[in-house]
């Protein structure tokens, strides 16, 4: 039985569960399953056991740091970890050992997480799935021939398979919410500015978000509570107190209004029957909880995708242009191509993308008048075969997640059911800026009613 973070925290606090034994259980699963999953780039077993013993000493002396003390954890390998290689899953940074931790790595360490290692990512959070990198791509625990989505691919796989109880992700166009959806877990892209990106390798700074991934929305709330907070080192970090995310988890939803962006998942990018069923089941659960349901119309998904892709690739090019000119052979083919596309844009293209972004956000804010939570798909269906994912998929069909990288609003993915191949499908819940607590509370209520959290993958 793999516990949630919340359950493990209760048992650790009650001295019914040993952090050392919990860590050993996770390490045993890593040894047994990771040769098939490739979720880890580096496993830090000795370090983890040392941290677990320290947590156990705090447990025994009644000095636990909080609900994350002694919890086995992993960081996406774009989060800087002092003294531990941070590779971005790329030959460009194969030997890169940061001198300092990322801000969020420090905050989570102070909360007591036990670091089991660094987790696979799409190359520089943009390149996968790639088979020409120093490490293989992560595989989906529900079917190892299938895609995890990305870019927080290792975190999605590791959490779903119980190799860790939680992990970090980053999300520039859906890189937390996509893997959460295809791996059947929960993942939140918080409000832009809630979590510092300092020390996290960037992809596109105006759209980059840091956030947690875990088995449940409740676990995400616990993790986000520890990660959130102002950091002057990140110019995008908001100078405001972190909200009470865990205390608000069980707030009543009666009287809330849910806006369903039906045209996103029915017309702009039609989803599978199972995904649609999961959306309808979620609507029913929220209606039963006393919410009012109504349809909401936003600008077409294609417009969001255009603004998002142009802004993202232009900013990514600005970060990588030197290496793209000097040593492009050290990138995998997928990332090299996607970055090159950014190099072909003009200054005018980028300004038009940001102008369109502002216009789209204004129209979305107007459409959200009187609505508390928006609801749509997170992915079109179950995970596709990993070998069949096209290099230019994002140019062919618009994705459901990038609109909320452009608005900066909080957006959560949770599991909503299972499809015809037995793989998970998901819904996405979006809130107003700084209402991350309500988004998480809504996800928590849905998970408690939809019956999906009792089913884990059996890695074959």
């Amino acid at each position: 039985m793999i516990p949630t973070i919340a359950a493990a925290a209760r048992d650790i606090a009650a001295k019914k569960l040993s952090p050392v034994e919990l860590t050993r259980d996770c390490l045993a699963r890593v040894k047994a399953l990771d040769p098939k999953l490739h979720a880890f780039i580096a496993v830090t077993e000795d370090h983890a056991l040392t941290e677990a013993r320290a947590a156990e000493a705090r447990q025994m002396s009644g000095a636990l740091c909080g609900p994350l003390d002694g919890i086995p954890f992993g960081h996406k390998d774009i989060y800087s970890t002092a003294g531990l290689a941070t590779t971005a899953h790329s030959a460009q940074l194969r030997d890169h050992v940061p001198a300092r931790d990322a801000f969020t790595v420090t905050k989570l360490a102070e909360a007591g997480v036990v670091l089991l290692g660094k987790l696979a990512t799409h190359e520089f959070a943009f390149g996968g799935p790639s088979f020409d990198l120093p490490w293989p791509p992560a595989r989906n625990p529900w079917d190892t021939e299938r895609f995890t989505a990305g870019s927080s691919s290792g975190t999605g796989a590791a959490v779903a398979a119980g190799l860790v109880l939680g992990g970090t992700g980053s999300d520039t166009g859906g890189s937390i919410r996509g893997p959460a959806a295809l791996c059947g877990i929960a993942g939140i892209k918080p409000t832009y500015g809630l979590c510092s990106r300092a020390g996290i390798l960037p992809l596109a700074q105006s759209m980059d978000h840091a956030g947690p991934m875990a088995w449940t929305a409740e676990d995400c709330a616990i993790l986000l509570q520890a990660m959130a907070g102002h950091d002057p080192a990140d110019p995008g970090s908001a100078d405001r107190p972190a909200p009470d995310l865990t205390g608000a988890l069980n707030q009543p939803l009666k009287g809330r209004t849910i806006g369903v962006i039906r045209h996103f998942h029915e017309r702009d990018n039609p989803v599978s029957a199972a995904t649609l069923q999961g959306i309808e089941d979620t609507i029913r659960i929220l209606r039963d909880a006393g919410c009012t349901i109504r349809d909401v119309t936003l600008p077409p998904l294609q417009e969001w995708n255009a603004a998002g892709w142009v802004a993202l690739t232009a900013e990514a090019w600005a970060i990588h242009e030197h290496w793209m000119r000097e040593r492009p052979e050290l990138y995998g083919e997928f990332l090299r191509g996607r970055l090159a596309l950014g190099g072909l844009l003009s200054a005018g293209d980028y300004v038009q993308a940001q102008r369109k972004r502002r216009e789209l956000t204004r129209r979305a804010a107007a459409a959200m008048d009187g609505v508390d939570i928006l609801l749509t798909a997170a992915q079109p269906g179950e995970a596709p075969k990993i070998r069949e994912v096209p290099k230019w998929a994002s140019l062919e069909k618009p994705n459901f997640t990038i609109p909320f990288n452009l608005t900066g609003w909080p957006a959560l993915t949770i599991c909503s059911g299972f499809g015809e191949h037995g793989l998970p499908v998901a819904v996405q819940l979006i809130g107003r800026p700084w209402q991350d607590d309500l988004v998480l509370a809504t996800g928590h209520a849905v998970e408690q009613a939809n019956g999906t959290r009792g089913r884990r993958p059996s890695v074959g």
Partner: protein
């Protein structure tokens, strides 16, 4: 959807960006670039008014707090 640029025109674009790619990748990129150009058209439709608010507003540092 836009047609891909002629190969010689596209080669000039790559040169201007300082990009040297294997020929097969450059050809693949030429076709992907056509899809990107369709997105660029979408950004400019409808054509923004001359004085429309730009994407950026500069704020002096002391205003940001």
């Amino acid at each position: 959807m836009s047609d891909p640029l002629p190969p010689d025109v596209f080669a000039t674009l790559l040169d201007q960006a300082g990009l040297k790619l294997p020929p097969a990748e450059a050809e693949d990129l030429r076709h992907a670039h056509a899809k990107l150009r369709a997105m660029l058209d979408l950004l400019r439709t409808p054509e923004p008014a001359l004085a429309e608010e730009p994407g950026f507003v500069f704020r002096p540092l002391e205003d940001r707090a």
